[in-house]
């Protein structure tokens, strides 16, 4: 690394810091006789060359990873209004409870007599979810929202098959999360797109035309990906049920409904819940997560096993569900995440959940009011938990939404979701969540106003943003067209 007075230096890889012969910890000499690998390991299983580990000292390792962690934009360091993802605060008490050795050191095969505490928590999480969502039964096994979708679709497929019906199509609005059609295809069914009207609501004529005796499910995100509650939802549920199909709710946006409305009361037959959104568990860089699936009574026999049941005062695992679709995850799912979920449920209570949803809606609509003068092409509200704006007509001189998102990093904000939902041109999707103070929302709106102004006065500054981050704008196109998937040390 060159010695320079410019402290904005990109961290070198740990491999690049390696110096031959350096070690963090001196190992004592071995007190067992040395065996040469050539005599003890078959040649096909032996390395051709020694493993190429980085050779570094302990302080180097600590500094390297601490510095890397400091380069992160995360919910613990910055406002993170990533629409649809609900990047809300993860209360630290959740982590403390989940890390208690009484939970973290439990073996999943310990008999139920010695695991009553954790089984009670799982039972209670299911009970809370049933009550909050108005559903009859839940499985906690799926390890994320998308796996929840797949599980829900498989359960629905098993239900239709048990009735001797061949239903192969899953209808999905064009505003849906991309995981919806992917889950349908993975479950062996055919995804069929239902058009949205320009205002983002479902085109009922198109839905009517596509519903039929081959429809297994209609999958709908409530509130929708535009952050708007679909006012036709009762009519949609009726249409779906009259066709003999099931109503699936993508619960990704439940953050704005809990405590105000129970999806089961709307007529939803299957839904999944993303606990890392609504129930404050960490978005764990791909895992672990949890995506519980709730169903109505008629679908309960098909839920994954094992399920936790209560007999008298005793909790135990029950595998005896002959119609079950089987396991979708080992043991009870990602239990550590479910303990965090339980902790949050107890923190909030019924009243707290209502207030949480109301504050999420209030924050989104406050931002909407602040941003409306800047963005002439904003979809009609009122919004629920998030605001969608279109960069079209707001940014001048060819500045696109992507440029504005990059420029926000210079202002100390994580960029919102961009170019989703795809039905809004140059979309920017902003979700403040219920955690943010009015001052933070004001600062964010001021940054957006400043970027709109910059697009008029200094557009190049926006088009070449970010300027203050450790690395400048990455070449996403080259990365996608000519990906280098593996680091090579030359």
């Amino acid at each position: 690394m060159p010695i320079t007075g410019d402290r904005k230096i990109v961290e070198e890889l740990i491999f690049e810091q390696s110096v031959s012969g350096r070690a963090g910890i001196p190992l004592p000499s071995s007190d067992v006789p040395r065996t040469e690998p050539e005599t003890s390991i078959p040649s096909a299983l032996r390395r051709r060359a020694p493993a190429d580990w980085p050779e570094v000292s302990e302080p180097q390792v600590i500094r390297h990873y601490t510095r890397l962690s400091q380069l992160n934009y995360c919910i613990d360091t910055h406002f993170y209004p990533l629409g649809s993802c609900t990047m809300k605060h993860n209360p630290k008490v959740n982590d403390r409870m989940a890390m208690l050795p009484d939970f973290s050191a439990l073996h999943p095969l310990r008999p139920h007599e010695l695991s009553q505490g954790v089984l009670e928590i799982l039972y209670e999480v299911e009970r809370w979810l049933r009550e909050l969502c108005g559903m009859d039964a839940f499985t906690l096994q799926p390890s994320a929202g998308a796996q929840g979708e797949l599980t829900g679709i498989l359960v629905a497929r098993a239900y239709h098959e048990s009735r001797g019906e061949k239903r192969t199509k899953v209808l999905i609005p064009d505003s849906a999360h991309g995981t919806n059609p992917a889950s349908a295809a993975t479950a062996g069914l055919e995804a069929v797109t239902v058009r949205s009207r320009p205002d983002g609501q479902v085109d009922l004529d198109d839905l009517r035309a596509k519903l039929g005796s081959d429809t297994a499910l209609f999958m709908m995100t409530i509130p929708g990906t535009l952050g708007v509650f679909e006012p036709q939802v009762r009519e949609i549920v009726d249409l779906v049920h009259r066709a003999g199909a099931l109503m699936y709710m993508d619960g990704a946006n439940l953050n704005a409904l809990i405590g105000l409305l129970r999806p089961g009361d709307l007529g939803v037959d299957v839904l999944h819940v993303n606990v890392h959104k609504t129930f404050s568990t960490p978005h764990g860089g791909g895992g672990p997560g949890a995506g519980p699936v709730g169903v109505k009574k008629a679908l309960e026999p098909f839920l994954p096993v094992p399920r936790v049941v209560k007999e008298g005062h005793v909790y135990r695992r029950n595998l005896d569900y002959p119609s079950s679709i089987g396991k979708v995850h080992g043991f009870q799912g990602n239990v550590g995440i479910l303990i965090r979920t339980y902790c949050y449920m107890r923190l909030q209570g019924a009243e707290g959940f209502r207030e949480m949803s109301e504050n999420a809606i209030l924050a989104a609509n406050y931002l909407r009011a602040k941003l409306a003068p800047l963005f002439p092409k904003m979809p009609k509200g009122p919004f629920m938990h998030e605001v969608v704006v279109s960069g079209e007509g707001a940014f001048a001189n060819g500045v696109r939404t992507l440029d504005a998102a990059k420029r926000l990093l210079d202002y100390g904000f994580y960029a919102p979701t961009v170019y989703f939902p795809s039905i809004v041109h140059e979309a920017m999707m902003i979700e403040p969540t219920e955690n943010e103070s009015r001052e933070t929302l004001d600062d964010f709106a001021a940054a957006m106003a400043a970027i709109v102004e910059e697009s008029l006065t200094t557009p190049e500054k926006v088009k070449t943003a970010p300027h203050t981050t450790p690395v400048r704008r990455l070449d996403e196109v080259k990365a996608a067209r000519e990906p280098i998937l593996r680091y090579r040390r030359d």
Partner: protein, 125 residues
């Protein structure tokens, strides 16, 4: 190909008289840099408006619909290897696949280039 000889759909595909299909200049501009093209297999039959081909940009993945019913007779191997052709040359080197139309008169019902330009002024997306 001269855009004036092509017919256009509301979903921004074009189709030539010989059944060659691609996406419009407007569409390539909107979806931004194309990074992946998944063309249909030769011999596959599509109904009109059925997804026939997938195109990915850094923004999102997009279904490209069959403008009319027909059978795929060829797919452009060059765009699969070099997806940037869709952006650089949407009406020439960036074509996606060729169809034998079930009924060539179906094509006449689609928009002319002039009608498509008018449509773009009124369309929301």
């Amino acid at each position: 190909m001269n855009p004036n000889d092509l017919r256009f759909t509301k979903t921004h595909e074009w189709i030539a008289a010989d059944g060659t299909v691609g996406i419009s200049d407007h569409a390539q501009h909107e979806i931004t840099d194309v990074v992946f093209v998944d063309p249909p297999k030769e011999g596959k039959t599509f109904k009109a408006e059925e997804p026939a081909c997938a195109v990915e940009s850094v923004k999102a993945a997009f279904d490209i619909y069959a403008p009319v019913a027909g059978v795929v007779t060829a797919a452009n191997k060059d765009v699969a290897a070099n997806p940037a052709l869709v952006n650089q040359s949407p009406y020439e080197k960036g074509w996606l696949y060729k169809l034998t139309m079930t009924s060539p008169s179906d094509r006449d019902k689609l928009m002319t280039h002039a009608q498509y330009q008018e449509f773009l002024k009124t369309a929301t997306h």
